[in-house]
């Protein structure tokens, strides 16, 4: 087998091994990856910064553990900013394994707010967790009429009306915006039913592979902001001035991208060398 043939027919196990090594190594190295904040991420930050203490915001933790590496840091950063601004945060999940994710985020951020900002957000007064309901399209439509239609009680079985912060809240009209962290198809339903039917002010945190699909909605103004993948999460962490897991994971992502770029480059060099040698052989023949 010639050199260029080797370059284009590499056993994929070598790719797996190289990638694994280059993802693990940066884990043990101390260095910082500079992150440039994009407009679509800054728009979310600026919007939340512009809200007044006591304003209501709805945060959807609509992802399963499989997308937590990318979306969990976004949820942490957003809720941290909301608590620091003393906003009233309503959280819910429309993803079947999302309840554990959402509970973990609000619990951890409430704890860290007590440590870093000197006050502890109180459940029922500063934030609530509505829990999970199946059939997301119906839930989004139902909340447009009244939160009590899909969620008569919160995740812990307490009636919504007995939670002080939910007493004046009926539907999306009393909520400043919805920020939805999403790893599946719920985002489409939020655009179609949340924004389309009820004109909800909407922003998304999405996995890297999904982000490109939602730029049309950003440009048309149906969503006012967009965070895509680990990079989007790292940008938001930088904005809230709390470098966290996404900023840390950018090291691994950078190395993984370098490995993939090198392999793609190698395959193309091999491809062109092969084509040139075939052309030459054809000329000789």
């Amino acid at each position: 087998m010639t050199f260029h043939e080797r370059m284009i027919t590499l056993d994929r196990r070598w790719i797996f091994l190289t990638l694994a090594v280059f993802v693990i190594i940066p884990f043990f190295l101390e260095f910082d990856i500079p992150v440039t904040v994009s407009k679509e991420v800054r728009d979310i930050y600026d919007f939340i910064e512009g809200l007044e203490a006591g304003d209501y915001i709805l945060v959807g933790i609509d992802y399963d553990p499989n997308a937590m590496a990318e979306l969990h840091p976004m949820s942490y950063a957003i809720i941290k900013q909301c608590f620091a601004k003393k906003l009233k945060v309503i959280t819910l999940t429309l993803s079947q394994y999302g309840a554990g994710m959402a509970e973990q985020v609000v619990r951890d951020v409430a704890d860290s707010t007590r440590i870093y900002h000197g006050f502890e957000p109180v459940y029922g007064e500063d934030y609530v967790f509505l829990g999970y309901r199946p059939y997301y399209a119906f839930v989004i439509l139902g909340m447009g009429r009244d939160f009590r239609i899909p969620f008569p009680q919160d995740y812990y079985g307490t009636d919504l009306d007995s939670l002080p912060m939910m007493r004046g809240i009926r539907n999306y009209d009393q909520v400043e915006c919805v920020i939805d962290m999403n790893g599946g198809t719920v985002a489409d339903a939020w655009v179609s039913y949340g924004n389309g039917r009820y004109n909800v002010k909407l922003a998304f945190g999405l996995t890297g592979v999904m982000a490109a699909d939602f730029y049309p909605f950003y440009q048309s103004g149906q969503i006012f902001g967009l965070m895509g993948g680990m990079k989007g999460a790292a940008e938001y962490e930088q904005l809230v001035d709390k470098p966290g897991p996404a900023k840390e994971a950018m090291k691994m992502q950078v190395f993984a991208h370098i490995v993939i770029i090198v392999f793609i480059g190698m395959a193309n060099i091999g491809f062109f060398l092969g084509r040139r040698s075939r052309t030459k052989a054809g000329e000789v023949l």
């Binding site: 284009i8 993802v23 499989n66 554990g100 699909d213 730029y215 991208h257 490995v259 993939i260 770029i261």
Partner: protein, 207 residues
């Protein structure tokens, strides 16, 4: 009658939902809310049907000792264990220690691991697929490279690459996506009309 009744129901409810959208009266909103409740109720029945189907298929597999029947047993065990621990009077509900342990230390790592494996397959697929065999393949390769370079710290080159990546996302990508979205939207309208008017009947089954 077996076919006419569902067709009639679909036509009446479909037509009502279209008209209701354009009628901002209280009675119309109340009716909409009523139908929404029914949609949720029907959805819950569908979930019960799904659980029943899963149990039946898994049980048959175990009984017949079919290929990989052990996985079916594990599926059923997982289903019952989680229901049992999550059930308030027996397991203690959502605060149950065992339920939380199973969620945090079995479900979360398993799901996260499976998804993480994608990175390796994507790397391998990129190595094989991104080859400049033709002009269009070269354009695809170029776009992919720009978007991958966007993440890398390239010093003074970072800003122009970020701008170029942003342009790719909001101009050519957006144009293509928008065309697809409009096409899909029109297709959905056409299919919905066919269902409401009884032209498309495949959802009724064969007999």
């Amino acid at each position: 009658m077996k076919r006419q009744l569902p067709l009639m129901l679909v036509f009446l409810l479909g037509a009502f939902m279209i008209i209701q959208y354009f009628v901002p009266a209280q009675a119309s909103l109340d009716a909409y809310e009523f139908i929404l409740d029914w949609m949720i109720i029907i959805g819950i029945f569908a979930m019960a049907l799904g659980i029943w189907s899963l149990m039946r298929v898994s049980w048959h597999k175990i009984k017949r000792r079919s290929h990989d029947w052990q996985y079916a047993a594990l599926t059923l065990a997982g289903l019952f264990i989680m229901v049992l621990f999550g059930f308030e009077p027996i397991g203690g509900g959502l605060k149950s220690y065992l339920w939380l342990q199973f969620y945090e230390f079995v479900m979360v790592p398993v799901l996260a691991t499976i998804f993480s494996l994608l990175a390796f397959f994507m790397a391998s697929a990129a190595y094989r697929a991104f080859r400049a065999r033709s002009l269009l393949a070269a354009v695809l390769l170029g776009s992919a490279m720009v978007l991958m370079f966007r993440v890398l710290p390239l010093g003074p080159l970072s800003d122009p690459i970020n701008e170029l990546a942003g342009w790719i996302l909001v101009v050519p990508n957006l144009a293509a996506k928008r065309a697809i979205l409009i096409g899909v939207g029109l297709g959905m309208v056409a299919t919905s009309l066919k269902v409401i008017l009884g032209i498309e009947r495949s959802y009724l089954g064969r007999d």
